[in-house]
């Protein structure tokens, strides 16, 4: 079990994705000859401007919006910050209460905590054992002071997909704006901002085979949102800064590819994922699948393995060339494991022993086979080291 296995088997697509060759190809001319500033007047910069506007149309089409409602950002985090702070600061006179969930990404949670320090009050809704927010809870949490509901479309750790359309309806019934962090959902969950009652939506290029450092915020026409980044008149005066033209072009192409055949893509990926889940649960005792059994992202498998800790699983897998992720705090040096896993009711020990495998477009059935071969070995090895492992679960080392 050493570095012999040189090939990298990447199964951490929720962390980030490679860029598709088509995306790199779309960007290439904007990295060299088409370098004009989109704000410039001369014809030479028209390529840049057109590239940006074509991408805006591609993003709009992917989420059922119109191009004028799409604003480019430097990523999902900036989009989340802008949406939530922007709504809060622009609607201060209408109320100071925000409803969100306990399992949001830190880009949402830490933004909300910052707003709390500015005098806003925030309700962090609990989730059920599968990580779902119940729409009725949203309704109960809304007060006369509520100005925004923000619930993610799909969770990045356990993959649980939220009942976004219902939550949107509840929010709108009460006259409250609805934001959703769809960073993990694009390309897996078909999005229609109209049908789903979404007023603001965040997305990020590097989660769907597009470039890092690119994202977008959808803002429904007519929604008052305070500017987060002030300066020049870019993005129709709402997000200043010279546009990341190659990045935006790549984002546009990537979202077009990612949403071209969501159903077919999901079918293919989920088939592999389901085989992976069945194989792991079948061969590793005292293991469980975290998140929802069916309402989950097609590429997400999140396990808890009792008696052992996630970072050590991850590093042994890394030794065998497999790239994965964990919600154990030990990976971040803090002592609290993943707030998401704890919110679903896991004990600290179970949360520490979690492993996330997220499949992507380049994964094959053989990759699944390889993980199914390596993972039980790795788990067994660590369990032999652990003082918590009961005798029945302790498998002797193969000779």
């Amino acid at each position: 079990m050493s570095d012999q296995d040189q090939r990298t088997l990447y199964m951490d697509h929720a962390a980030t994705t490679f860029m598709k060759p088509e995306v790199v190809a779309a960007m290439a001319p904007y990295l060299s000859e088409h370098f004009g500033n989109p704000s410039s007047l001369y014809r030479f910069s028209r390529e840049s401007k057109n590239g940006v506007e074509e991408a805006r149309g591609q993003v709009a089409a992917a989420v059922g919006a119109s191009a004028g409602e799409i604003f480019f950002t430097s990523g999902g985090t900036e989009a989340d910050n802008w949406a939530i702070k922007g709504i809060a600061l622009a609607n201060r006179n209408r109320g100071n209460h925000i409803v969100t969930s306990a399992i949001e990404h830190h880009a949402v949670l830490h933004t909300c905590e910052w707003l709390e320090r500015q005098g806003f009050s925030v309700t962090y809704l609990p989730v059920d054992g599968f990580g779902r927010v119940e729409p009725e809870r949203v309704g109960e949490a809304i007060t006369d002071e509520t100005i925004l509901v923000s619930v993610m479309t799909a969770n990045n750790e356990i993959g649980t997909v939220q009942p976004v359309a219902e939550i949107g309806r509840v929010a709108h019934d009460r006259g409250v704006l609805f934001h959703t962090d769809a960073v993990q959902a694009i390309g897996a969950v078909p999005i229609d901002v109209e049908r789903m009652g979404i007023d603001l939506l965040s997305l990020s290029g590097h989660k769907f085979y597009g470039p890092k450092g690119t994202g977008a915020l959808y803002i429904r026409q007519g929604t008052r949102v305070e500017t987060l980044i002030h300066g020049g008149g870019q993005e129709r005066g709402r997000r200043a800064g010279t546009e990341n033209v190659p990045g935006i072009v790549g984002l546009g192409r990537a979202i077009e590819l990612a949403t071209a055949d969501i159903e077919g893509h999901n079918r293919r990926i989920a088939a592999m994922r389901d085989r992976l889940v069945r194989g792991v649960l079948g061969s590793v005792p005292d293991s469980r699948l975290n998140g929802h059994p069916t309402e989950r992202l097609p590429n997400n498998a999140n396990f808890s393995f009792r008696y052992i800790e996630g970072e050590s699983i991850l590093l042994l897998l890394d030794g065998r060339g497999i790239c994965a992720s964990t919600g154990s705090a030990c990976s971040s040096g803090s002592s609290e494991p993943s707030h998401v896993l704890l919110a679903t009711g896991l004990s600290h020990e179970e949360a520490h022993g979690s492993l996330r495998l997220t499949l992507g477009d380049a994964n094959t059935g053989e990759d699944v086979d390889h993980v199914l071969e390596v993972l039980p070995e790795v788990i067994g090895r660590l369990r032999r080291i652990s003082p918590l492992t009961p005798a029945r679960t302790r498998v002797p080392e193969a000779e």
Partner: protein, 147 residues
């Protein structure tokens, strides 16, 4: 983020397991904070002649458990008591700053085992700050090789 040495020690840990006839057993940590170490010692004439460990924890915890058991083999209990986590970290070629606390686990488990050894012999457990840990069996000096 880890040095090659840490990864090597973690991937191929030494002295893993239990000792059925241990003279001392010590435990430190808790599953809540993500790591537990249990250490088993054989002691002859105040000298550690065998050591085994079991660890639930991250790579840093496992690697420092392994390294610490290797380091205390052959030490007197007094020397083992004085083993600092800095010694273990140094022997591992360093740990990332947020991981240094994981190496405390080994020191704490060793000290717990030494106190277990003392308690079994009717001695008072030592305080944290204490420097000596002779079992008192004829004095440290009377054992062979303790010169």
């Amino acid at each position: 983020m880890y040095t090659e040495k840490v990864i090597e020690e973690f991937t191929n840990p030494q002295n893993v397991g239990e000792l059925a006839d241990a003279d001392a057993v010590g435990e430190a940590g808790s599953p809540t904070c993500g790591d537990i170490m249990k250490i088993y010692l054989k002691v002859e004439c105040d000298r550690i002649t065998d050591a085994r460990f079991q660890t639930f924890g991250c790579a840093a915890a496992i690697a420092s458990s392994s390294m610490a058991t290797r380091m205390i083999l052959g030490m007197t209990l007094a020397e083992a008591w004085d083993l600092s986590n800095a010694d273990v970290v140094d022997a591992l070629g360093g740990l990332p700053e947020p991981k240094v606390h994981c190496s405390l686990l080994a020191r704490d488990a060793i000290r717990a085992a030494i106190n277990d050894f003392r308690t079994r012999r009717g001695l008072e457990p030592l305080e944290r700050g204490s420097g000596c840990c002779c079992s008192g069996e004829g004095g440290c000096d009377s054992c062979p090789g303790n010169d």
